[in-house]
Symmetry: C2
Subunit: 381 residues, 2 copies
Amino acid sequence: MQKLKIGIIGGGQLGKMMTLEAKKMGFYVTVLDPTKNCPSHSISDEHIIASFDDVNAINELAAKSDVVTYEFEHIDHKALIDLENNGKKIYPTAKSLKVIQDKLTQKQALVEGGAPVGEFIEVKSIDDIIKSGESFGYPFLLKARTGGYDGKGNYIIKSHDEIQIAYESLGSGKLPLMAERYIDFLMEISVLACRTANGETAIYPVGQNHHEDNILLETKVPASISKENEEAAMKAAGLVMDIFKGVGMFCTEMFVLKDGGVLINEVAPRPHNSGHYSIEGSVTSQFENHIRAICGLPLGDTTLIRPTVMWNILGSNIQNDGKAVVDGMNESLAVQGVKVHVYGKETSKPQRKMGHLTVTAETLDLATERAKLAHSLVKIY
Amino acid sequence: MQKLKIGIIGGGQLGKMMTLEAKKMGFYVTVLDPTKNCPSHSISDEHIIASFDDVNAINELAAKSDVVTYEFEHIDHKALIDLENNGKKIYPTAKSLKVIQDKLTQKQALVEGGAPVGEFIEVKSIDDIIKSGESFGYPFLLKARTGGYDGKGNYIIKSHDEIQIAYESLGSGKLPLMAERYIDFLMEISVLACRTANGETAIYPVGQNHHEDNILLETKVPASISKENEEAAMKAAGLVMDIFKGVGMFCTEMFVLKDGGVLINEVAPRPHNSGHYSIEGSVTSQFENHIRAICGLPLGDTTLIRPTVMWNILGSNIQNDGKAVVDGMNESLAVQGVKVHVYGKETSKPQRKMGHLTVTAETLDLATERAKLAHSLVKIY
């Protein structure tokens, strides 16, 4: 084949890590991102500097590419559906994106396909929220159906008194809303799965996630769960791929319930933060398999090579008005088996995802201990 | 620290793989290479398009960089020594480069440092070649002291009758020459070693190499050698780092002798083709450790994770007057555990290094079998 051309909407860390894999295989990468010095800028062949909702720019990206993919799901799907209807390869498909990016239609599709999800209700008015409280009890969740991430767009309503403030904080009805029963989970997990247009599917082992302030902090693989829950989680992730006819890498975030079983919390139609461990931990990383899948290549082995722990490096609270500074790289890399990824974002903000680190080791305990130590030594601000 | 700036002389596959690692860690990379669309072009922050012997361009590269490195040893060392004398960090040091790039002074330094090397003689005239034949017997090797690679610049003299033609084919005295006793080896091996400016040294396990037509075809790790030879080889590679006070990744190519023991054939002061296996096979690749070493960061774990086999993908004989074409990527990637690296050189030539593939597996036999199969399925022309 001639050099394959890939277009990526979004040049953040996920776009960057996709690009690094695409370049390894010799492909041509064009990125669309509004930020001139975004993480992908210096490693892509071309960079279209434009807003994500600029339809002309999306069309230009598509014209330059054999296949178009994206690093986040909050894109106007209409432009992509038009392209898809005109025969352009958009992976994951624009039709699946449309269903997934609306958390209500996502959950409806999951229920219809027989996947395990918690109870939810469409919210059209403040009355529906009151009814949700009566039906689910307190606390329960009010969610914006679109656009939320890292807990943004979610409100945990703890009592009837909070309904009004929750409603107002989520746009007073301007945003489409849904309510969900609150899941009192034992553990948060996620499972990566990848599927080609031919239906070949590859599923990764279960990762165990630890969030703080709704932002992922740590992923440990393998997860410390029972064989039954592991099988249920991997089965659910496979079912998700069938339901959405996913093409590319998907991540299914799930809860392990206190009395056994798993429930799907959310599906992301893209490589996922909780899958970064796979770069060092797996025979084939989530980024390589995503590129393989969207390029029509067979999928790589998803075997975990060694126990692996990933920690996010979030922007610290240290004041810095200039360009982002990395401190403690030396100390952190001195810990055995540590790999530090710095995304290269120009400026740091508290809680912004600036990088991550991964440790592989002979045992999960060793990897856990070393990752925690290495994480305590490095700061970006 | 602020974003560290690395300058790389050479934007071929080694420069590209160094750059991919540097970008992972968020560093800024400027490459100097005469070819506009060289493998590093699209992934570096800046590309100075200039000849390798353009002193102004080298000075410009140094001015833009905190540290300068190179992907090949055949550079005019004078410009680098001037920069080094003016306080610029050049790693590996220009002084070590000067000694190593001349195969005679390299071997003299190795002998002086107590490293195991075969017999050699400086050749100043055709008479010295005749004396070499008398001393070493036939066959023996006539070598250009500088500039050779992949067997180029070497002549195996099988009898007295070939002396004149060998002498003429190596420049009739215009090139500095040396002669070496021919080593009737059991096996070709190489050992990667990395050293920081502080003297921290990390040594990789022994790789077993198979050359065809003087070009590396296959590297298998671990090598199938005795414990004694393994220890001798790793000790020799460590000694090489001490002798040259190497900073960065070095590769020491050695022969395992039929009656035991090892002899150093050649030292390369850079990441090496026979070390590509380390990208997938080792906890830390040769490229990451090279970047760590030249940036003053601690070295990463060199443990082999799983048995690994690497095959070069050389330009095939199929005629193609246009841009390089990759055939069989699909079939090759369908083999379990295979990773294909395509360097992205614009044009292919027979025997040109266009890419490589690596297989990791539970056993070396499985990796060997799968690598051979995958290699038979992919072609670049």
